[in-house]
């Protein structure tokens, strides 16, 4: 195999050192097929070689955790003998190259991860990051946004899983490297979770789903490298999704899982047949032998190398009990799917690949998995941190009038209503959606029980850029707070860590800081991480994105009828701010929108206070004391109050708050651990008592009423706008960037 030279290794994204490791583990040189297999299993995307040692710092256990990291998705106990199975994953690189298919196949991939666990998927969400719509690459960004949104809609709508929420931020940091993080949640019987492991010598290995083509070869390797001007040439590495095929697979697999004929199942995601066979064998402590000539193929003349590395979508690998083949095949036939027996489980712990009987790869699991490289990459605190640490007061001046700023923030695409987007997503199918898209956290009821599940995905790249440790902590805190605002107790989280090139010490420093911050916040808020995904090399032409940890938190509402949304319900309710305003403008949307600055320290986070606020919200909601609750974040108190008035048919508010520093700090500062709640007058006293018991600051700031948004600071009216006018600005801002009828 002297043909293996440096150029070949480079094409496979392997270093010379990694190649030497392969030779040492195999005690010989690999065949080309074996080299291909190693290259994808050892890619950053599949092996987590740069992140693994740090991810171990995350708390992953808890009384409710049924499945932590390591399987296709995590699972938590939600009571009634049921489990919530959920995970978030990135599809960043493909979505930049081919937005529609990149996003669509991202949705398809995360759905497969959920039903592979034996769960019926019941909700989708997504966190998206794009460049500025009117920035230097505005035209391209708008095209990417349209493609990504259409791709998510095209896949999720067709397969019939509601997209119940999500969030979008626009910032030029993502102009050449958008982020598409997709989250899926499913429900399974807690005692019937399915594992992705192969066991039982002689048990047949089945392949089911779409045929294998040449699409997506080296997709995992692509996701493990930076972009440059040649990236568009990588288009063939993006797969094409077929949601109809996936719908059939979903129904057929769930039907099969109701029998006891199944041993294990794994979807073929990144690195397709290679990862699924090696991971199933490795998890089950067994070997898998397959013959690629028995793999259904879409194209003629495919080599073993191509078949093993293809990332064609909508394919599953199953191990079933010997003797039950006919039963299994009949279920797939019913759904017009062909299940092909491509091999068997062996006891020898070896992944053996044959082509028409001839062995083309023979790799012990130990070589592929145990010998995989794990890097403790060097870190260095980035120099930029000192440059951005403080806000230059001279740059701020005296600031624009608050009402002008208020309108500007409402029309900032990051803050503006995302109706133009979520209207394209079927967010109601399955008739479980209790809080409609755009009205707060995503909330779905669990039919057959009294419960509902709330979910939220959050993360601020700007905060994390300014202070990686605190930024990650704030991401978890905000997601947990959002879930609590729906009345749900947060019980588990999944993370998607989007960073730049880990081979650069400054990026690695951001990553380590963020993971450690996240770990600390998870422990303090008692929310374990049950799985997730790391996406590195989010750079183009050497320019990294803001470090962006996206955290998805799932919470449980024991009585679904206590569910809350963000909106005021009637006039003459008391409006109370829970938590303290510290007047913090660092990293705020205000600084970015009004001054073009990304500076200062992100808001301070006192985890004990955050935990108290969450308890307060959950208990008050459970006792039916609240009419609405809304997390105070982007745009600060003024924007949060306005959002409580939107989508209510024009219920106004009259507020007087105590000033903290300047008017801008008071109105637009983004201090953490705050929520705006509305309360019927008769429950007002009880809420204040509860807040006092839990040590949560609670200040009555005014009442709902009229049809104007009136906000005074220390008795002086600073904002006075009709709800209708403000809502028009907020609702129409996003749609105006896109062709066709505005929202």
């Amino acid at each position: 195999m002297s043909a293996i030279d440096t150029a070949l290794l480079e094409r496979h994204g392997l270093t010379r050192d990694e190649y030497d490791r392969i030779v040492a583990a195999l005690h010989r040189e690999p065949t080309l097929t074996e080299l291909g297999i190693f290259s994808v299993v050892w890619s950053e995307h599949c092996s987590y070689k740069s992140s693994r040692i740090h991810l171990r710092k995350l708390p992953t256990t808890g009384a409710r955790v049924l499945q932590g990291p390591g399987e296709n998705a995590g699972a938590v106990d939600i009571g009634d003998g049921l489990a919530a199975v959920f995970k978030i994953e990135s599809h960043n690189h493909p979505s930049f190259i081919e937005p529609y298919q990149g996003a669509a196949t991202g949705v398809g991939g995360i759905i497969r991860d959920i039903f592979t666990m034996g769960a019926r998927p019941i909700a989708l969400m997504n966190s998206l990051r794009f460049g500025a719509l009117d920035g230097r690459d505005g035209a391209r960004t708008r095209r990417i946004v349209e493609g990504v949104v259409a791709g998510i809609a095209g896949y999720g709508n067709s397969i019939g899983i509601p997209t119940v929420g999500g969030e979008i931020t626009f910032d030029d940091s993502y102009a050449a490297n958008p982020l598409v993080n997709v989250f899926c949640l499913g429900i399974a019987r807690a005692d019937a979770l399915v594992k992705g492991s192969a066991a039982g010598s002689g048990n047949p290995v089945y392949y089911v789903g779409a045929k294998t083509g040449r699409d997506g070869i080296h997709g995992a390797t692509m996701a493990s490298a930076e972009f440059d001007e040649k990236s568009s040439e990588k288009r063939p590495a993006v797969q094409v999704g077929d949601p109809f095929m996936e719908k059939l697979l979903l129904e057929a697999c769930l039907e099969l899982m109701r029998t006891d004929a199944l041993i294990g199942v794994q979807d073929m995601g990144a690195a397709g047949l290679t990862c699924s066979t090696s991971e199933m064998g490795s998890r089950g402590g067994s070997g898998i032998e397959i013959d690629v000539s028995r793999v259904p193929q879409r194209e003629t003349g495919m080599t073993a190398y191509e078949i093993m590395l293809s990332e064609s979508q909508e394919r599953m690998l199953l191990v079933v009990k010997k003797g039950r083949e006919a039963e299994v095949e009949a279920i797939f036939e019913k759904w017009d799917l062909h299940a092909a027996n491509i091999g068997d489980v062996m006891t020898d712990g070896i992944l053996r690949v044959k082509d028409k009987g001839a062995v083309v790869a023979e790799i012990p699991n130990s070589a592929l998995v145990d010998a995989a490289p794990v890097y403790d990459r060097p870190t260095a605190r980035p120099a930029y941190l000192d440059r951005v640490a403080t806000i230059d007061p001279a740059a701020l001046g005296s600031g624009a009038p608050p009402d002008h700023t208020f309108a500007a923030l409402l029309s900032s695409p990051t803050i503006a209503s995302k109706r133009w987007v979520y209207r394209q997503y079927d967010h109601m199918v399955r008739t479980n959606t209790l809080v409609l898209a755009g009205m707060g956290a995503g909330v779905v009821r669990v039919k057959g029980t009294d419960r509902a599940l709330a979910m939220s995905t959050d993360g601020s790249g700007r905060y994390t850029y300014l202070n990686p440790r605190r930024g990650a902590m704030l991401a978890l805190a905000e997601a947990a707070r959002n879930v609590a605002c729906a009345g749900a107790l947060p019980i588990g989280a999944t993370n998607c860590l989007n960073f730049g090139n880990p081979e650069r010490p400054e990026i690695m420093w951001q990553f380590v800081e963020a993971v450690e911050g996240l770990a600390e916040a998870c422990r303090a808020l008692d929310i374990p991480i049950t799985g997730g995904n790391v996406s590195l090399y989010n750079e183009t032409d050497g320019q990294a994105i803001y470090p962006t940890p996206i955290i998805g938190v799932v919470g449980v509402i024991d009585d679904a009828s206590t569910t809350l949304s963000r909106t005021f319900k009637q006039r003459d309710d008391e409006i109370v701010v829970l938590g303290e305003n510290l007047g913090e403008l660092g990293g705020s949307e205000y600084l970015r929108t009004m001054h073009g600055l990304v500076q200062g320290q992100p808001p301070a986070l006192d985890l004990a206070k955050e935990r108290a606020l969450i308890s307060c919200l959950v208990r008050a909601a459970g006792e039916r004391l609240l009419q609405s609750a809304h997390d105070c974040s982007d745009g600060g108190l003024a924007v949060t109050l306005a959002e409580c008035a939107f989508d209510t048919g024009g219920i106004g508010l009259d507020i007087d708050v105590k000033g903290v520093g300047s008017l801008q700090q008071t109105l637009f500062g983004e201090s953490a651990s705050r929520a705006v709640v509305s309360i019927r007058p008769e429950h007002f006293g009880r809420v204040l008592t509860l807040a006092a018991e839990l040590g949560v600051a609670a200040v009555k700031v005014g009442r709902t009423g009229g049809s104007r948004i009136r906000i005074a600071v220390d008795g002086v009216r600073t904002i006075d706008s009709s709800v209708e006018e403000a809502e028009r600005v907020w609702t129409s801002a996003l749609g105006r960037y896109f062709a066709g009828r505005a929202a």
Binding site: G154, G160, D336, H427, M428, V429
Partner: protein, 239 residues
């Protein structure tokens, strides 16, 4: 009485229609797989929403060839009440049980939101419990709901009172602004000449419980129950 909910490969509102009939109304309901040739003695047949066969080729174009459609056609010809919702409506159009066709929404985008429709006709088995002029708040979720037919067909539908639902504003006026997809004459739903086959783009099964934002869709199911009860087992499908 019994509802049959036909399941095509790619149906995805089948569980929702079943839930509405069985758990909200408390009636019998049964899924009928598209390869079946019997409707299992059902009194009412629902073709649910979704993306049958992925909506590849054309919405509803492949589903109409499913074996079960022969039974559905016979059931309809015998006067049995048939409701096609969204993709089910599209299938009824392709099967020739209702006239016309669907174009893509005029802004070429999928729309999922609550809209208002006005009940135009109460003399169908699915609207007998609703007064003409009643405004219902129902969700839509479709990319191809832009109803189209030739002028003669539109004229016929208008003159024979076969337009059952029309998109309207809060006053019940069928304005262009209230039309979410560009459908001709704001048509949201129609019936056949015998009035027992009704198709509509909005999703009444998603609006049967207050907690989901609207219970206005219940009237379609309740009307069907009354209609069947009033007729006894006259139209019961052969087992």
């Amino acid at each position: 009485m019994k509802f049959a909910v036909v399941v095509f490969p790619g149906s995805n509102c089948d569980h929702d229609a079943y839930h509405a009939a069985k758990h909200v109304l408390g009636q019998e309901a049964e899924f009928v797989w598209h390869k079946e040739t019997s409707l299992g003695g059902a009194d009412v047949v629902i073709l649910p929403g979704g993306f049958s066969h992925g909506d590849y080729l054309r919405t509803g174009a492949i589903a109409r060839f499913s074996p079960v459609m022969t039974s559905v056609t016979e059931f309809a010809r015998a006067g049995g009440p048939v409701l096609g919702i969204c993709n089910g409506f599209q299938i009824l159009l392709e099967a020739g049980l209702l006239p016309g066709a669907m174009l893509r929404n005029r802004d070429l985008k999928f729309h999922c939101e609550h809209v208002r429709v006005r009940v135009e006709q109460a003399n169908t088995p699915f609207t007998s419990g609703a007064a003409v002029g009643r405004i219902l708040s129902l969700p839509i979720a479709h990319g191809e709901g832009n109803y189209f037919a030739d002028p003669e067909t539109i004229q016929l539908l208008e003159s024979t009172g076969r337009i059952v639902f029309r998109y309207c504003d809060e006053n019940g006026t069928p304005t262009d602004a209230a039309n979410p997809n560009g459908a001709m004459n704001n048509i949201a739903g129609i019936c056949n000449d015998a009035r027992n086959v009704v198709g509509l783009m909005p999703h009444p099964e998603r609006a049967c419980e207050r907690v989901l934002g609207s219970a206005d869709g219940l009237v379609l199911f309740e009307s069907a129950v009354s209609a069947v009860t009033a007729h006894g087992a006259l139209h019961t499908a052969t087992a």
